[in-house]
Symmetry: C2
Subunit: 160 residues, 2 copies
Amino acid sequence: MGHFTDETAPMSTERTTAQRQHDTLELLATHGRGWLASASPEGAAHLIAVSACWTGENLLIATRGDSPTGKNLAATRTARLALGDPENAVLVDVTVADQRRSGPGSGELGEAFLAAMGWDPAEEPGAWDYFVLRPVRVQAYRGYGEVPGSTIMRDGRWLG
Amino acid sequence: MGHFTDETAPMSTERTTAQRQHDTLELLATHGRGWLASASPEGAAHLIAVSACWTGENLLIATRGDSPTGKNLAATRTARLALGDPENAVLVDVTVADQRRSGPGSGELGEAFLAAMGWDPAEEPGAWDYFVLRPVRVQAYRGYGEVPGSTIMRDGRWLG
C-alpha cells in the first residue's frame, strides 16, 4: 500500500468540495499569516511570510514596494499563496488586481487593512505598498488523501 | 511606536546568530514538512508543501518529475523553502545540486530518504525524482523583531 492511498480509511474522512470551501472561507476570515511565493520575470523564485487580509473577494497584503516581492508582483502580476499549514493546506493562485502606496491616499484599502490587521504600514520604515490579490484558483487539502478533489476554485469561481 | 519595533523589549529576547543556527539545525533534523517555492523560466511562481529530509549538508526532497515543481527545478536549478511557521520562520535559498529518478538506481539518495521519511516515492503512481537542494542562504527569525540579523548562512557558509 502506497503512501498516498489508505484503503482502510472510510471515504467519509475526505471532505466534500462544499465542506472544503466552507473551511477555507473560515480560515480566510481569520486574516492569518501565510506564505507568498512570487517570481522575477527571469524565473527567480522568492518566498516571504505575509499577513493576508481577506476582503470577502480578494486577499490584501502589504509589503515594501522596493522588496523582491514588491518588484516581482509589479512585474509579473501573479503569485501563489499558502495558508494554513502543510497538514491543512490552502493554496491560492492570484493575480494582482491593484497596487497602491500606503498612507493617506490609500483610502479604503488602508482602512480595511488597519481594521483587520491592527497596524498601519505607512508608520513603518520604508515605502510600503498594498497589493490587492484576486484569487483565480484555490486548492484545499488535509493530507495526501485529499489531494484528489482539492481544487475548490477555478477561473475565479468557487466550485462548492 | 511602529509595528516592527518594540522599544520596551529587552535586547536579550532576540537570539544570537549562533543560537539561531543551533535552533535551525534542530528544526532541520526533524525532517519536517515545509513549503517549496519555485519559478518557471518565464517567471510563473509555484508553491507546494514538501517533506524535507536534511542530510546534514543538503535538503533532499521528492516530487514528480513532470510536475510544475519538478520542471521548474530542472530548468532554473534554484528554489526557496520555508520551514517552521510564519512566527518561527526558516527560509532557505537553494541550488539544485542533483536530480535522480526514484527507484533501484537512486542508491544512497533513496536509502536516506526512506530512512528519514518512512516511504519510498518509487511505490507511488507516477515517476518521482529526488532533488538534492544545496543551501546557499538561510534566514531565521521569530517575529519582526528578529528580522535584523536573520541571515545565518551566506554563500553556503554558516555564520554562527
